[in-house]
């Protein structure tokens, strides 16, 4: 049996806001990532992808709060662990997270090497400058980054180079699992491909043991990950292998997403794109029943009458949340 590195079971979390209008951003999400595998999370902005990433690391700092469910990281249940302990003992070494805007959040007055020193000292205050420099040089060489980057300020780097640097630093403490949140969405197609190659190389060389890749770009996910989950309004609406979800989507929402992809392939110009009408529901007060019902062309009265719609499991990890199909 392959080892499950990340095992999330029926996890629900919420944002508690000042006016007591809670935002239920993650609703009963279950997922498993086995050693050697990568999982993609797709869905439009605001559906809860970034919140899910924080939630499954146990990163519960206000306004984010745990509601229910379980998280096991490499066999260890971290659900009830103090978030401060998670930050010190788990983040960076067991699991690493590259936030969406990480490359633009680099301290502009700090050289990359000083940034790396801070990351390492936070974990191991005894490391010497020389040890850190040697480690940084070795890693940069391994990951195809020029050593000169170490002595540069963030503004001196192109967007693609900044992002590759952020990735190199995020794995410098040797985490088993890497969560990359929209790592290439702000880049042009050429830099995007370099960033993706770097992530794929990290997986293939066994440098990281598992990866969660978050993006709204489906063709990208399709080419990078083993499995895909489609998220809608805080819930998973479909999961399966990349082939299954992209080539044979079951949920009407996933089918809608596939129907509006634009790729430079022959015949694309003649194709009529079918954009999904309407907007997702407000997560402060999500509708009961199917959350996609208001935008779904297959909607029937039961879709909104049934209070909760469960995932229909088809075996082998394939599942979808729809009563019609």
């Amino acid at each position: 049996m392959p080892k499950v590195l990340l095992d999330v079971n029926e996890l629900s979390t919420k944002y508690v806001t000042r006016f007591h209008e809670d935002v239920y951003a993650v609703d009963r999400v279950s997922l498993k990532v086995e050693e050697g595998k990568s999982l993609g999370i797709a869905g439009e902005s605001g559906c809860g992808k970034s919140t899910l990433a924080l939630s499954m690391m146990g990163y519960y700092f206000p306004p984010l709060h745990y509601v229910s469910g379980d998280i096991c990281l490499d066999g260890k249940n971290i659900t009830k662990m103090d978030p401060d302990v998670i930050r010190r003992k788990i983040l960076g070494t067991e699991i690493s997270y590259i936030p969406q805007s990480a490359m633009n959040a680099l301290n502009p007055t700090q050289k990359i090497l000083n940034f790396i020193q801070d990351v390492i000292w936070a974990h191991n205050p005894k490391a010497t400058k020389e040890e850190i420099l040697n480690l940084a040089k070795e890693r940069f060489k391994l990951l195809g980054l020029p050593e000169s980057v170490l002595y540069k300020y963030p503004v001196e780097l192109s967007g693609g180079m900044k992002q590759r640097t952020v990735i190199a630093v995020s794995v410098i403490l040797g985490p088993k699992v890497l969560i990359a949140d929209e790592p290439s969405s702000a880049l042009d197609v050429t830099s995007q491909k370099m960033v993706i190659k770097m992530l794929v190389d990290l997986m293939q060389s066994g440098f990281i043991k598992a990866m969660v890749f978050i993006t709204h770009e489906l063709p990208l996910l399709y080419n990078v990950v083993d499995d895909i989950m489609v998220m809608y309004a805080g819930q998973i609406v479909e999961k399966g292998t990349a082939d299954e979800v992209v080539l044979d989507p079951l949920h009407p929402y996933s089918r809608g997403l596939m129907g509006s992809l634009i790729v430079p392939e022959e015949g694309m110009r003649e194709q009529k794109l079918i954009a999904i009408p309407g907007a997702p529901p407000n997560l402060k007060d999500p509708p009961s029943g199917c959350r996609f019902a208001a935008r779904c062309k297959y909607v029937i009265p039961q879709c909104t009458k049934i209070h909760t719609i469960d995932m229909q499991e088809l075996g082998n990890g394939r599942a979808y949340r729809c009563i019609f199909y």
Binding site: E44, S45, G46, G144, L145, P146, S158, G159, G160, M161, R164, A186, L187, D188, V189, T190, S191, Q192, K193, M194, I196, K197, M198, V200, H216, E217, L218, P219, L220, Y222, N223, V246, L247, L257, S260, L261, I262, V263, P264, E265, E266, M268, R269, L273, I274, A275, I276, P277, A279
Partner: protein, 275 residues
């Protein structure tokens, strides 16, 4: 007379140099191109290739270092404030970050009202203005009633870009330059935005200059494609010619860099850049 195929916007040997001395950047390098009335043209290139600078030159937002611009067959003259305002009635733009183009303290109905007033607002009765604003909103599949009294930051990125298109619908310029209008918004809303640009072209006859780093979008949208590299146009032709039968290695790379579904996306050929 406008017969639908005349020259709309033309530039000859257009050049822009930023800075001076050692920090000099040749952002646009002797670019010549001619865009016809009602045409949809894409300009495609990697980041830093000079696309936005070219857009700013065409818009008259920055002075060319060298070269000429012709509008409707005549040399463009924006030497006075009045002439510039007249030119901007004919050419409008949508940028990557929709929030940056709006005054965040102005309500959305006022933003739309400004567009009407800019055209011939003085003689339009109030009911007619409301009708025009509602029409503009329904053009982009939004409800005017839902937008009244809202501020721009209350909208999502996709809704903001649609509002920008509603503005263009009201302003009715001859030319619209859309500079990466979908690169900061969700892939899911991308098709909606592109289809609205196509509708603007089909129903209003707006000449469209679409700027992108994603050649897939150019292929879907445009009739003519210009490929830009380090400030120069290195290849051009019909969308089919350029994308299905590219000649330049650079164009081939731009195509191969876009992740695809039915065709293989080969990562083994990626060469890491050192800058």
């Amino acid at each position: 007379m406008d017969n639908g195929s005349g020259s709309c916007l033309k530039c000859v040997e257009l050049t822009k140099v930023y800075g001076m001395g050692r920090t000099k950047t040749l952002a646009v390098d002797h670019v010549s191109l001619e865009i016809h009335n009602k045409e949809i043209v894409s300009i495609v290139g990697e980041s830093g290739s000079g696309k936005t600078t070219l857009a700013k030159l065409l818009l008259g937002l920055t002075e060319p270092t060298e070269g000429e611009i012709y509008f409707l067959g005549k040399k463009r003259d924006i030497s006075t404030h009045k002439k510039r305002l007249e030119y901007w009635k004919n050419i409008q733009a949508i940028f990557q970050d929709p929030y940056s183009s709006f005054n965040i303290f102005r309500k959305i109905d006022d933003v739309l009202l400004d567009c009407i007033n800019m055209r011939d607002g003085k003689n339009t009765p109030r009911e007619e203005k409301i009708r025009m604003m509602s029409e503009a909103c329904s053009f982009v599949n939004m409800k005017f009633e839902e937008l009244t009294n809202k501020y721009p930051f209350e909208l999502s990125g996709g809704q903001m870009q649609r509002l920008m298109i509603a503005r263009v619908f009201l302003l009715k310029p001859k030319i619209l330059i859309a500079d990466e209008p979908t690169s900061m918004i969700d892939a899911c809303s991308r098709a909606t935005i592109l289809d609205m640009l196509l509708k603007l072209n089909a129903e209003e006859g707006t000449t469209l200059i679409f700027i992108t780093h994603d050649i897939g979008l150019a292929y879907y949208l445009s009739q003519t494609v210009y490929i830009m590299k380090k400030g120069r146009i290195v290849e051009s032709g019909t969308a089919e010619e350029v994308i299905l039968h590219p000649k330049e290695a650079y164009t081939k790379r731009l195509i191969s860099d876009v992740p695809k579904i039915r065709e293989e996306w080969d990562l083994s050929t990626v060469v890491y850049s050192t800058e």
